[in-house]
Amino acid sequence: MSNHRSQVEILTIISLSAIIASLLFLNCNRGQALSTSKKVIVLGFDGVDPQLLSKYMAEGRLPNFSKLAKDGDYQPLGTSVPPQSPVAWSNFITGMNPGGHGIFDFIHRDPRLMIPMSSTTKTEGSKNTIKIGKYTIPLSGGTVKNLRDGKTFWTILEDHDVPTTIFKVPANFPPVESEGKSISGMGTPDLLGSFGTFSFYTDDPPANRDDISGGIVYPVHLINDGFESSLVGPKNAFLAEEPDATIPFKVWRDPEYPTAKIQILDKQILLKEKEWSDWIQVDFELIPALQSVTGICRFYLKEVRPTFKLYVTPINIDPSNPALPISTPSDYAEELHDHCGYFYTQGMPEDTKALSWGVFDYDDFHSQTQNVLNERLRLFDYVFDDFKEGLFFFYVSSTDLNAHMFYNMIDPEHPSHDSEKAKQFADVIPSLYESADGIIGKVLEKLDGTTTLIVMSDHGFAPFRRAVHLNTWLKDEGYITLIDESKQTEIEFFQNVDWSRSKAYGVGFNGLYLNLRGREDNGVVNQREKKSVLDEIAAKLLALRDPQNGDKVVDRVYRRNEIYSGKHIENAPDLVVGYNRGYRASWETTIGNFTLEWIEDNMDPWSGDHCMAAELVPGVILSNRTLRSKDPKLFDMAPTILAEFGIEKEKNMVGHPVF
């Protein structure tokens, strides 16, 4: 009997101890002021431009930016070559140039297959599987590989026992192994494995619906004001034919009011026109009762009648139950969800494709990007409140993607400028700068004497008025020969190129490659010719004039050996085309498609850009400390942060501390 009694007592003591410990844990006070040990706070506002920033500061709209510039320092920050976010942030992360970290563009190419591919991540399915009936069961997990090379500055800090918090830095998916808290940013896919695929249900699908990229249009037929359809999720790799996993849902609209009801799984959603639902958790069943994958999405009732239009966001990875690694430690995403609710986990949450393809109008897009910004501000409050010591990095994408889409509102010379729309939306970009200013204000309130604050952007912005079809130009100049000229605009992804008679090609936003013998599978340019062909193309590009106004199209042409160093230099483009302000590579040319004209007006809402000559679109750096360097660059940031903690930079870092 005494044995039983002691067992009960032990159980009771263990249970009570565990309960008390958990209550203490749950109630621990989180909202204290920053402690006094060394701290470095870096706020990364993507795409904040020095010209616009100075203008808005002069107008008195940005008191905290102005205070920082006055009390500390403010300079342009030299960006990467080319000035593209994944390249620029990789420079920031590693302290190297692209030759060292291996990210040269959003888009790379496989010289064997001559197919454009993502530069930042590579996904591979499970190599070992077993078939049971109609199911294919993987015996090992698939892999998602971050292609950026080089040690990140925060892992070096952690090696020296400096705690780190890294919030959504781009080019960090999957997040590098880290003892600190991090969540992945740009490069994080949606649940379909894409960079964001929206769904659009309408009873009047647009004629070009098959051309739409970044989303899928599903035609629906309303019977008695209702319809049934499916939310399309990831491929079900457990089935041999890998069909899409789907979740059926029903929609009814009111016969009179502009309202509708959506019934999905066990959830009922009532929306009025132009209204967003909250995030909805959706569970895609892969093997009944055994295996499923969860995601999150939001519904937007764009229009009820006369045309019914229902938009659904890309299905994001569920932070409360992530299907892919998006944070370190792995439960950090869940912690963020527990304290802040659901949030966009996809790398580029602003749905620019929906606006570009006419699924959104500017009002819709603005409301969507406000959702993104509000979520980000909510997350900032929690994450910053949680920060006590070490390094804190926080990233905001809204300043970049909104500038891309609303630049024509502040640029009267832009071909897509509409003065009526501009009255309504000209204030969007400055308002976003004000939001960034608000974040700085919250940090300044808590700043103590031992903390270094760095506010920076990866690049600036410029108008994108004219689209340059580089591959069409190369074809016109005789560097590319097509197999079938009559199908010049029909066949995509270089599939119409006769490689045995082509000397050079463009891939990505700034890259130009020779079709080099021994490197490309059907290379024709030999090593002896290489320099002369490159010289010739570079000279022609620099002489290129816009037939519309006579302006220079290309400001600079960079040769890889002059700008890059490191072990990945062999993968670099042979030439990097630095377009003049106002000009950029067209969407078509980045992936190897051809058009009839080599240059044309850019009528896409994507009206501002930065994939130009690096010297024309620098970023910004502001700090509460005075900068010693007169020409700070992005790759100086990693050595600077390390130096703030008294840590020497790595040997392969090319940058230098700026303080």
Partner: protein, 274 residues
């Protein structure tokens, strides 16, 4: 079913009363503990305790035989067979008390479910309230009028679905309290309770007319009257997330784990053979 519920509800209301304003974990821990003890007593009273003890002793003897005679294959096989047969016999002896346990366990689970499956609404939240018009009701959806008390407001115009004879409203919660929503059609009225409270209250997510299952699973509120113009009224309460020691678990799993721990911890000094 409403009569049974009217007897059971006050009993469980008293049982949960001390924990109404505490963390939901405490109510679950204590009720599970009491349920575990109760199940032990029922098991003891309805099972063949001597037979179970004998069966367990036989198991011990068979396992001892396996350890002692591991070199004798014939004896090993014989012992294995006896273990399987003994196991079947043990299960047979457990069957009777299990049958006696089904009803009280089901009642406890239903009462827990009304408190732990959903949580009450909070100020600032919205919810969907739906009413299904009875198929024999001559009126149309347009005749149904929603009357909201102070503290609740209509958020957007309703969605009426003729095909389903259903009308849906989105209601915004402006203050806490227990509210009666009134639906009116001609001179008839239907009421549905909506709870915006911090306490652990029994919630009825739906009430129906002539529907045994709905009445069984929603004991917190009476069924709709047979003369009602509605066949069903529902409120979308949010799912309650049950956490123990910071870990999210389903409340049903928590109940079974806690009650089993209590039962196994107490079976010794209560002298119950399980």
């Amino acid at each position: 079913m409403d009569i049974i519920n009217s007897i059971l509800n006050p009993f469980f209301k008293i049982l949960f009363y001390p924990f109404a304003n505490m963390s939901p974990v405490w109510g679950m821990l204590v009720i599970s503990f009491l349920a575990g003890i109760t199940m032990l007593f029922i098991f003891k009273a309805t099972s063949d305790q001597a037979g179970i003890k004998k069966a367990k002793n036989l198991f011990k003897a068979h396992f001892l035989a396996i350890r002692l005679y591991r070199d004798d294959l014939t004896l090993m096989m014989e012992t294995m067979k006896n273990i399987v047969l003994g196991n079947l016999g043990y299960m047979k002896k457990s069957l009777r008390p299990m049958l006696f346990l089904i009803v009280p366990v089901a009642i406890i689970i239903i009462q827990l479910g009304t408190r732990y499956e959903y949580r009450p609404l909070r100020v600032g939240e919205t919810t969907v309230v739906s009413l299904t018009l009875d198929k024999h009701e001559p009126g149309s959806l347009n005749d149904v009028v929603l009357e909201l008390p102070d503290g609740l407001s209509l958020d957007i115009p309703p969605v009426r679905i003729d095909q389903l004879r259903e009308i849906n409203w989105r209601i915004k919660i402006e203050r806490s309290g227990v509210f009666d929503i009134v639906f009116r059609s001609d001179n008839k009225t239907v009421k549905k309770r909506l709870q915006v409270v911090d306490s652990l209250s029994p919630l009825a997510s739906r009430i129906a007319r002539d529907d045994f299952q709905t009445a069984l699973l929603n004991p917190g509120e009476s069924s709709l009257q047979n003369s009602s113009f509605a066949s069903m009224v529902s409120i979308s309460y949010p799912k309650r997330e049950f956490q123990f020691l910071g870990i999210s678990i389903h409340w049903l799993v928590a109940f079974f784990v806690f009650s089993l721990i209590a039962a196994f911890a107490c079976k010794g000094f209560l002298g119950v053979e399980v």
